[in-house]
Amino acid sequence: MVDLNLLLHGFATVLSGYNIVALVLGSFFGIIIGAIPGLTATMGIALLVPFTFGMNPITGIVMLLGIYTGAIYGGGIASILIKTPGTPAAAATVFDGYPLAQKGMAGKAIGMATVASGIGGTFTALCLTFFAPILAKFALRFSAPEYFALAVFGLSVTVTLTGKSPLKGIISGCLGLLIAMVGLDPMGGFPRFTFGTTQLTGGFSFVPMLIGLFALSEGFRQVEVILTAPKVSAVLTNIIPTLRELRECTKTFVRSCIIGLIVGVTPAIGAETACFIGYSEAKRTSKHPELFGTGILEGVAAPQCAENASTGGDVLPMMTLGLPGDAATAVLMGALTIHNLQPGPLLFRDHLDLVHQMFAGMIVANLVYVILGLTFARLFAKVINIDRRFLVPLIFIACMVGSYAIGNDIFDMVTCVFFGFIGYIMIRYDYPVSPMVLAQILGVMMESNFRRSMAMSQDHLSILVTRPIAVTILILAAFTTITGIRRQRKALRQQAAMEAAASSGGAQG
């Protein structure tokens, strides 16, 4: 169970000195990143990780939590004002947010989005605080075979649920696994795939690679198409929602909080999925579903609440099992490792005070962006029109210098640019990047625990199928993979049928 004394101490730490300054700055930067269409929460975290390197672990971590939660919320601002989601997670906010802005209620919509995000985020942060220690305690019983099974499960879910094609997800994931093998063998200590270079003996530096794959690749995308966001013309007034408006959305908040939490806990899917499910459920259960899409506050509250409610769910498996819930938490995990903190149950055993500070940080972060969002809404609305011709070179230089800063090594900069370009090509040709990154984290976990299991059982594979927890997780992994592939095949068949129908229609015409 959560230790309330440690939690109170965590609040005191987070709210004191540099920590709260870092959290507010992180949240502010996160909202800006979220509000600019084309920039994502993952990119924001990846860009700022190197800046936290010289900080106290907790200062750096709360700053990153501020960016994470702030960026997820900030995406809704652009959705409401210019009909373009700031982040993919805010796509469903467009449906009712933009019509509200057209009715002259942009301020009201942003206010509701802010409060709904805060409610969802705080709920999920509280759930994280209370459930994470329980899950971590259970996970302490795990041994090598269970961890191997868990890594296989994480990988199978990641590759089949991410992107348009499971096949391309599998290819991306397998390449990530091979990249994770570069360096010294985890048990034998001999070099693998290093091509005789000493720089690759320790493998590719993880954080520069993350910055490249998630931030620089997006930078290249922005170079390809220089987005010019429509001018924000809406005047923001009456931003703070009334009690009556909040009361009317109570059921929506409850529903979206639960949806967000469940979606967040499911590996590989996060805020992007939660916002759509939150919106569609609010519409389905509403007494006036016909009003959805015409500009109603409930239509803004549901997706915003659900997407922010997924953040704690995403962080939960990362902190307790070392299994990142999505791309953003994979980057957060990378940030923890550069502070010599290895996410997983041992984090709860060895750094219990820091874990409680993280819980407190997550709760405070959700309150900070609500205050910032309601206070500086007009400023964040202006950020949307920032000139990309200056922003994009800034992203590039921040990525490269940030990568260099981690080890003062030019090879890290090269790693960042190399993977940035690879990431750009992958995105361009529909190969999802997230499986490649998650596979690198899970690959290390999978291989070392497989080898340990084999050592424990004297090379008998039966150890993986005779332990109840391990076998349950492996069955779940197989089930998820088969379901994912069947779903994709069905989608392909539907697409082929539609193409055939279109071509026969064209021939007749």
Partner: protein, 165 residues
């Protein structure tokens, strides 16, 4: 610049990935097999085999014309700009240690903004000077990261800017 079709892109991906898989098999033969440490080649070869199966399926799908459609070409998309940015960025990596951070970044910012179509010269020059200066101060002074030094940093330090450079 013409876009690759998804079919061609998939075939190229297959052509790149197959040699990678074969290399895994080739190199794993040379690894030692220490006693009771699990077999080190099982996971790498397993992954390579899995990857081979996946790319052959992708190839089959591409050849049969069932490759997924490429996203529609976006309005204003320009691959030449990407190539320009990539050349500039790889060039930056090549010279930053020789020329130093300040000079290289100044030139990089200026050329990058030009590649992106910025032609308002006063803004451009101000931007190109301010970014490396702020980055240098932030990293070198506040975050204690020694950025690559060149003759510009050294001469600025000799001319009274020792606090920053």
């Amino acid at each position: 610049m013409a876009n690759l079709t998804m079919k061609k892109a998939d075939i190229i991906a297959v052509a790149i990935v197959i040699p990678i898989c074969l290399y895994v098999f080739y190199e794993s033969v040379k690894w030692p097999v220490p006693a009771l440490l699990g077999r080190p080649f099982v996971i790498p070869r397993g992954v390579a085999t899995f990857l081979l199966v996946a790319v052959f399926l992708l190839l089959y799908r591409a050849m049969k014309g069932r490759a997924l459609e490429l996203e529609k070409r976006l309005e204003g998309a320009d691959l030449w700009r990407v190539i320009g940015a990539a050349v500039l960025t790889f060039g930056y990596l090549f010279v930053v240690e020789r020329i130093g951070f300040f000079g290289t970044t100044l030139l990089y910012m200026l050329l990058f903004a030009l590649v992106l179509g910025e032609r308002r010269w006063p803004r451009l020059v101000l931007f190109a000077i301010l970014v490396p200066l702020i980055a240098y101060v932030l990293f070198s002074t506040a975050l204690h990261v020694p950025l690559p030094r060149g003759w510009i940093e050294n001469s600025l330090r000799d001319h009274g800017l020792a606090l920053i450079f």
